[in-house]
């Protein structure tokens, strides 16, 4: 054999921090709404829901810098808020241009800065910016995209920037694999796949709800509902809370 192989036993020698684990997709992610999601929300209810969603995001410490993740049971998760629509082949240079890659995502203040620059690389044809100039967070909870979202670089700064900006989920027609993998591993944004081209059905600013358990997206502004694809193989990893949590859950590395 050209290489040595390690046995699972070797892995148990690693010590882990004794911090209380912070989970990206813990039950506290589910949001309660003033009205039933299937009803058309009044404008007042919408603004309440939006501010609730923004507040909940800011309640959590940045996921990339939080204490070690660990396993948990599957969570009922719902995302609600405004959506931002982009087209096909949005590459990582548009999600987070290379000049910002000197920011290290595992440092809390730099993590926050990355969020400020999320999707800043989109061409000027996108008149509405994802993060308003001067703001540090986005007002959009969900990014709706066409095909091959996240193509290009392996930079984890891409899903991190989206997560740090306050976005909770991406619903794309399809993903580039490294971006998808990084989203799953970090837990920064939930990478969902739509059945069909939601980017043509929705407009930036539409109010949407994603019901994960039912695999559907509701556009309250248009009143239409859309099926989402099952998360597939990434499901167990996401449900566990990322690659480290999954590894601990399956005994690959020791739990806390």
């Amino acid at each position: 054999m050209a290489f040595t192989t390690t046995t699972p036993q070797n892995l148990t020698t690693f010590t882990t921090s004794s911090h209380k684990p912070k989970l990206p997709f813990s039950p506290s992610h589910s949001l309660t709404f003033p009205t039933h999601p299937n009803q058309t929300l009044t404008s007042r209810a919408i603004s309440t829901a939006i501010s609730t969603s923004t507040r909940i995001h800011s309640l959590f410490t940045p996921r990339a810098t939080s204490s070690p993740s660990s396993s948990t049971t599957a969570a009922e998760t719902t995302f609600h808020g405004l959506c931002y629509v982009v087209g096909d082949n949005i590459d990582t240079d548009q999600i987070i241009p290379a000049e910002y890659l000197t920011l290290v995502p595992s440092k809390p203040d730099e993590y926050e800065k990355l969020g400020t620059y999320a999707l800043i690389g989109l061409p000027s044809s996108y008149a509405t910016r994802f993060v308003e100039p001067g703001e540090s967070k986005t007002k959009y909870t969900v990014v709706i995209a066409g095909a091959n979202f996240g193509c290009g670089s392996s930079r984890e700064h891409a899903p991190v920037a989206l997560g740090a900006s306050g976005a909770a989920a991406v619903v794309a027609e399809s993903y580039a694999r490294i971006f998808f993998r990084n989203s799953v591993a970090t837990g920064e944004v939930y990478p969902l796949e739509s059945e069909g081209r939601l980017c043509e059905e929705c407009r930036t600013g539409d109010v949407v709800t994603i019901e994960l358990k039912e695999s559907k997206l509701i556009n309250h502004t248009t009143g239409k509902e859309y099926a989402l694809k099952s998360i597939g193989d990434a499901g167990p990893v996401i449900e566990a809370g990322g690659i480290f949590a999954y590894a601990r859950k399956t005994g690959m590395i020791p739990s806390h």
């Binding site: 192989t5 921090s17 990339a64």
Partner: protein, 518 residues
Amino acid sequence: MASSSSFLAPSSTSILHSKKDVGLSALTSTSSISSQRCQKTGFRRICCSVAAPQQSQRQPSTTGSVKTAMTMTEKILARASEKPYLTPGDNVWVNVDILMTHDVCGPGSIGIFKREFGEDAKVWDREKLVIIPDHYIFTSDERANRNVDILRDFCQEQNIKYFYDIKDLSNFKANPDYKGVCHVALAQEGHCRPGEVLLGTDSHTCTAGAFGQFATGIGNTDAGFVLGTGKLLLKVPPTLRFVMDGEMPSYLLAKDLILQIIGEITMAGATYKAMEFVGTTVESLNMEERMTLCNMVVEAGGKNGVVPADSTTYKYLEDKTSVPYQPVYSDQQARFLSEYRFDVSKLEPLVAKPHSPDNRALARECKDVKIDRVYIGSCTGGKTEDFMAAAKVFLASGKKVKVPTFLVPATQKVWMDLYSIPVPGAGGKTCSQIFEEAGCDTPASPSCGACLGGPKDTYARLNEPQASFHAFVCVSTTNRNFPGRMGHKEGQIYLASPYTAAASALTGYVTDPREFLQ
């Protein structure tokens, strides 16, 4: 469900023949299969009017201990996960032979490693980690400089064997350990070996597949995991096979081949798939050309690229590594998702027009595109062979370039080659002399340079659009041309081979190198 009879087809030397036999017996025993499944499990041979029949997914248990054919990617992952047999779609924990990281993603990966395994944790193997600062090196950006310091501190703390450090930014030659672009350095330093698994925090890690190994890019979190455990959960990709036969024309380079392929299958054509390159043309390519081929696999969405190892590979590795390796090869009966065949004698020099690597066009059809600059560099087009190719065109012309022509050697070794290796047919002149006579910029300090823009003071970065009716048009030997890739969002980047880039520099327009090479 499974049809065991489909795998008792008589062995033959032709893949197509055996697939056809397999398909016929499968048809008699399987019920109707949806076209969706056909896409995933069937074998499609492109450039053939009759599609091969579908096959259903095989369950190993139905055939007992009969070992089933695998592609070389499947074999590499099987061995690395200590499993006798793998099928595309399997998720397995894989032992990692080499993990590479650089200044952009290293600090983040280290942060995650420490967070998850503890401040005092040690990496799984101090000899299997290769840390190569290369992205934002020659800049006054403080954070960029700090990131190299973070790598240094970590390497000292962990006693990492391979850290290609740089301290004196004003003179790269004053840093004996410094290499430059990670993917080229990995090859030059003997870290790429047939049959192994190499992961890196960079999408172009797939370059190493040129050595007949499984190599792919991962993010910081995955890298942090590997740092602690030496393993990663990977999904086995199905393989697309690209057969290129024929003698390579004198005006074509591997860059043209991969641009042809990406244009053929589009930017997402190989998503989650392996790309295997075989055929007499591939066999005739030297290692650096094979690296160029595998380098842009990710631009088609590919997970990894592979070229079977052969005498060219072994020769290259002779003086570079003493670590024993064991090459693997796709089985005769291995199943491929699709097969594409190219007769290279029919291909022509290409470009990828703005703003996508699959926006393929013939170079000669773009001859009216006026350009503002040429960039020759990066892991894709900044290796010694790439510069030799450019020099060949300048030599054939004997004239001077009409636009600023930036040269960024990938590594220190490449830089030294430019100044020492005589260019064939040049009467003893080196690349650097030919470049100087042609009026190119002096070869710059080796790094990733402006391939991905970088900090604003990066050499050759596209910073301002031209103060004329069109934006900056750059012909580049790099790998991506998305909006803003090399700096300014309005920059127009034409991806091309070193031949085409040099030819374009000489005319000031996008130019087919046959203008000078025939």
